[in-house]
């Protein structure tokens, strides 16, 4: 199977899907390689990510990376979240085929864009 069982589980039961009504940080990015999209909404209080939600359009890796990302960053400080790497996301979805690793890149970039807003606002 090109995709791991972990990935397929995220597809069948996405974690933290949707948008936060009280989000204070929202970012949406389109993957230039393929048009996949990821939208993140975060509630950040006192430098800590209290809640994260995602919406995604595209291939299973993009959907799963969105789902996994919200799980990884909820509860982290902004600084800790900035250290979440592409490799970590790929590992968390149980691996990705080489030609799909840019799905994890999209997740990192969308997160950084959202956090960038924070840094700018600070």
């Amino acid at each position: 199977m090109p995709y791991s069982n972990i990935l397929k589980d995220h597809l069948a039961r996405p974690r933290n899907a949707g948008e936060l009504a009280d989000a204070n940080r929202v970012a949406e990015q389109t993957n230039p390689a393929c048009g996949d999209r990821l939208k993140l909404s975060l509630r950040v209080r006192g430098g800590r990510i209290e809640a994260a939600r995602f919406l995604a359009y595209g291939c299973p890796p993009t959907l799963a990376c969105g789902s996994v990302l919200t799980e990884l960053i909820e509860g982290l400080t902004v600084d800790e979240a900035l250290r979440v790497s592409r490799a970590e996301i790929i590992a968390a979805v149980g691996g990705l085929p080489a030609r799909k690793t840019h799905a994890a890149a999209l997740a990192v970039e969308t997160l950084h864009q959202a956090i960038g807003q924070i840094h700018r606002q600070v």
């Binding site: 995709y3 397929k8 359009y57 959907l63």
Partner: protein, 334 residues
């Protein structure tokens, strides 16, 4: 629901091939009894395959499948029926044109058509079609994978594909896959016999499926010409979502479908065929091929109709495109 990718092997086909996997194991090139028994079985199968497409036995080159059959060098090739959306092409018209060109002096202009998807799903008659070459693959016809044939009109000369043996009248070397060829022949005979009933069955099930989808799911588009279309394929685009996620969701609930064609999957580019219909990337990426077989039942269809709306709904809930569309619609409604 993925009978376009491959079909279950018919029980009667397995029974017919079994003797050639057990006691009848001769090499058709051997002069002795066992060899000649195998040769006779191969020739019987060749006759059945020829009969299915109204050809002569010596116009049939048996080989390893549709892909090998497509690997000849010809000038004009047209798919008889497309494997993604099932649209039937006007081969007969093209055939007339090619014959006229040939009469006008273009002596070596041949018309090849890929009949892999069409075989067993519509009448295929090489005389009516006027094609010079036609590719066939047994595993789309309820026989095993790894065997097929190329129809070569008697006037056409081809360079042999596998050099090193004198089999298939010098047109394709290699010891014949006897058991597989027998299976193919049996499948061809059954397909000829049961063709009308199979077509009626698949058409009825597809109508049930498409009516159910229309009723239960919004924002769907059925791709392909509704008239000139193979009876077993329903290609549907679901707006706002991408096909592969839907495929995996369905698979986890026991429903096998395809995005694009199995032949080209692994690439997972937006389907160029759907895009050529003018559908745009989103609809092309959201397209799924459901394909029905002779053994599909009403219950199978009803199960898909139960599982599919939920799967589509779940993915749409995740989709920023869908959320945006809802918001926009809400605004227009106001």
């Amino acid at each position: 629901m993925d009978n376009s990718a491959t079909t279950p092997v018919d029980r009667r086909v397995v029974e017919a091939m079994m003797p050639y996997l057990t006691e009848k194991f001769g090499n058709p090139s051997s002069v002795h009894f066992y060899g000649q028994e195998a040769r006779a079985a191969v020739d019987r199968a060749r006759r059945e395959v020829a009969a299915l497409i109204n050809a002569r036995p010596n116009e049939i080159v048996l080989l390893s499948g549709g892909t090998e059959a497509n690997n000849d060098t010809v000038l004009i090739t047209v798919m008889l029926a497309n494997n993604e959306i099932g649209t039937v092409q006007p081969i007969a018209e093209i055939g007339t044109l090619v014959r006229e060109l040939r009469a006008g002096g273009r002596k070596y202009l041949w018309l090849h058509t890929d009949g892999v998807q069409a075989l067993g799903r519509m009448p295929v008659n090489v005389e009516t079609l006027g094609c010079d070459l036609l590719s066939m693959s047994a595993h789309k016809l309820h026989a095993p994978q790894g065997v097929g044939a190329l129809y070569v009109r008697r006037s056409v000369r081809l360079a042999p594909q596998n050099i090193g043996g004198h089999q298939e009248r010098e047109r394709r070397g290699g010891t014949e896959a006897v058991s597989m060829i027998v299976a193919f022949g049996t499948a061809a005979a059954l397909a000829r016999e049961e063709l009308d009933a199979r077509i009626a069955h698949m058409r009825a099930l597809r109508a049930r499926f498409e009516a159910g989808v229309t009723e239960r799911i919004s924002d769907v588009i059925f791709n392909g010409d509704t008239e000139r279309r193979l009876p077993h394929i329903s290609n549907v685009s679901f707006r706002f979502i991408e096909g592969e996620g839907l495929l995996i969701n369905l698979d986890m609930q026991g429903v096998a479908v395809s995005t694009g064609s199995a032949c080209s999957s692994g690439s997972l580019e937006p389907s160029p065929v759907i895009r050529a219909l003018g559908r745009g990337d989103e609809l092309a990426r959201g397209s799924i091929r459901f394909s029905i077989g002779k053994d599909t039942t009403d219950e199978d269809i009803d199960y898909v109709l139960e599982v599919l709306p939920r799967a589509v709904e779940n993915l749409r809930r995740l989709s920023p495109l869908y959320q945006q569309a809802i918001a926009e619609r809400a605004c227009t409604a106001v």
